[in-house]
Point group: C2
Chain length 197, copies 2
């Protein structure tokens, strides 16, 4: 099982946005690409991947590869799936999730609850430029990769992650967009032992 | 110098398309993501990368990282840059390129002329699922990666590439979208020797 936690600091927390200006909506273009980079293969879906998209530290949308329907590779339709989820946020009472479309679940909590809930499920790996090179580490069996959007992690996020994080990993010497970093992390997992095959 | 050649088989060859339905326009969503995956770093541009986007085997749009301006990470604005180029296609006479915006050049030819023009400039590497694993090969100094869109290479493309191609490379055991493949290829080049650093 692979999981990705993506922190969208300025993303909308309700469905009141247009699909024609996604970069201006807290970089929903980037966040949408993060979701598809984590979950989609060419003509297939990664059933062993779950994505937790944290919006404005208020709402977490979970995409479960094993049951997900209606996710397409383009930004606009992915943002529409996010909007559909946010339009139903009032139906999520307390911390109980609501399934807003097949395989998409919304919960009304942010980074702290998400990380604390996930910490027992695998190895929390914070992706950051000053981390340990992935080329020197063996991939964990059940990684939980945590990434920030186009902004740095906030201080309270870094402190929270310091409690739960087993690895601080760097993907390489160049600083990538979050969606490209997810593609590289998936590839790192995919190719573990590949040259020996 | 790194170059990427991306073949968009069904892409529009004129600027008569809407930015609201890019997947229906010969997968311009995917082709736009290919351009940004090749050229953009977080808050930076890859100045040593050139992208050749072949549309419908009629038009080739070249994006030169060293002089490019106005490329943003989202699909919509990248597709708008492509549309701006296509709107000026009548100004490209014969095989002479026209610079349609800073660092973006349009030429009225397709795959054959593009590959023949490039073959002397580096090592042509066809990316395909049944190729040799990249983990067993050292990155060439001046790679020219050739990728197809969401469709397989056509027979004439495979024959043409067989003449010029030094490597047929596979990125891993999973079949990726073309834009994700570009991210992985860039990462392969970026991290050459990274663990020794």
């Amino acid at each position: 099982m692979r999981q990705f936690v993506i922190i969208g600091h300025d993303a909308p927390v309700d469905g009141e946005f247009s699909l024609n200006g996604l970069p201006g909506e807290g970089r929903l273009d980037l966040l949408s690409r993060c979701v598809t980079a984590a979950l989609l293969l060419s003509h297939d879906i990664r059933e062993d991947v779950t994505v937790h998209l944290i919006l404005g530290d208020e709402v977490t949308i979970r995409f479960e590869g094993s049951s997900l329907r209606g996710l397409h590779p383009d930004e606009r339709s992915t943002a529409a799936l996010i909007r559909t989820a946010l339009e139903q946020r009032e139906e999520a009472i307390g911390h109980i999730p609501v399934e807003t479309s097949p395989g998409v679940f919304l919960q009304r909590f942010g980074i702290e609850e998400t990380i604390e809930q996930l910490a027992g499920e695998g190895t929390v790996c914070q992706l950051r430029e000053d981390g340990k090179p992935i080329t020197t580490v063996d991939p964990p069996a059940n990684p939980i990769f945590v990434l920030s959007d186009h902004q740095d992690f906030r201080t309270f996020e870094t402190e929270l992650l310091a409690e739960h994080c087993e690895y601080q990993l760097s993907l390489g010497p160049t600083v990538l967009h979050a969606d490209h970093a997810i593609t590289v992390a998936n590839h790192w997992m995919d190719t573990d032992g590949y040259s020996d095959m």
